[in-house]
Symmetry: C2
Subunit: 225 residues, 2 copies
């Protein structure tokens, strides 16, 4: 059985990526990072998702990136609402080096566990244009992983699995439905209302809504107020 | 003026690497990671070293790698003493993916600061054989950094500076002496005695002692009991 460390945020994408890896025969070890994200509610979602997936282990690690700031997700700057998703600039919700930091942590744990697969739910189609969601970034990390570690030196290979990278959000949701996933467990919103309900205006909410609409199914998170 | 983020552990190497970068005209921002190392005393040394170097900023960040274990530096396993340093195996003091994690964090902060230089005191000669101290690892991280970030996408280049990588420990110490460094501020030992004194038997102590002996100067840390 293949053993994997999966970065589990509590969002729709990482849940689906983890479920695909599980369906492909991976034993899952879930890693959730408290990075000082303002939408800390997603960590509760990650716990529910991990339980639902039946992961072998779930670790939560704190790395408070508010120490650096530089993102509207880790500072008091406003999260942009109603943004033009066709715009080509990288939005303020980009967290500098976040996926590099997350994959590095996953790599460290994977090496200890003897796991050789790192699973991350990045997506390069229906996304916000973050540089660390692109295939060339993923390949460069894989090269690095095999130079950085004892396992790599000893001739073993780490693989970074990105099952969603070339799927549209609708395709991701449809795939999740066929796997029987319960998306009511997830949390996507960057700027939840005081009630915890999604704002429905940030990039993450808008991409999610478009995905459910295109998939032709209702979002269970909105169906149950 | 070039702006740099330097990984400052409180050891001899990172102090010297930082001083070389400063002498080369870099404005220094020091980053120290509390990673659950048993020799947490080095963090106090990092504060003294940062002050002595006159850094622009010094940040300390906690990333508790004891959550993963897998190293005698982050678990209750014994640190090896009197080890054969000519042995080719990677010792238990190797911390899985540590330099990848540290450089990733430095990259995140550097991007926020607008700094384009990352300084790390890795050394591939008088060292313990850690895979993430080798030139090929450093070059792979540099490639990754420029794919992972907004700055990289916008055509700016990150540079990973490793001024010590091809120096012997004696050369590092001699260079530090010419720069007027006070090595009594540093801490190298992996397994300090209850008094805080170095054990003089772990890899780090032995490499340090050999370096001072070859440089023909006394170690000020041992001279002042």
């Amino acid at each position: 059985m293949k053993s994997a460390v999966v970065l589990l945020s509590g969002g729709l994408d990482s849940y689906t990526a983890a479920a695909i890896a599980k369906a492909d025969g991976c034993d899952l070890n879930a890693l959730t990072i408290h990075y000082g994200q303002r939408h800390a509610r997603e960590v509760e979602a990650a716990r529910a998702v991990a339980k639902s997936l039946g992961v072998a282990r779930h670790r939560e690690l704190t790395v408070d990136l508010r120490a650096f700031g530089g993102s509207s997700l880790t500072s008091d700057a406003a999260v942009p609402l109603d943004r033009d998703l066709e715009a080509t600039d990288i939005p303020s919700t980009y967290v500098p080096a976040r996926n590099t930091i997350f994959l590095s942590l996953a790599l460290g744990w994977a090496e200890v566990l003897g796991a050789r697969h790192l699973v991350i739910g990045v997506n390069a189609l229906d996304y916000s244009g973050y540089p660390d969601c692109r295939p060339e970034f993923v390949r460069a990390f894989e090269t690095l992983a095999n130079l950085a570690t004892r396992a790599g030196v000893e001739g073993e290979q780490f693989h970074v699995e990105t099952p969603l990278i070339m799927m549209t959000k609708a395709e991701i949701i449809r795939r999740g439905m066929t796997l029987g996933l319960d998306y009511s467990l997830t949390h996507s919103c960057y700027a939840p209302l005081p009630s915890g309900r999604p704002c429905e205006r940030c990039d993450s909410c808008v991409l999610r809504a478009r995905g459910f609409a295109a998939a032709g199914v209702p979002d269970p998170l909105l169906a149950h107020p």
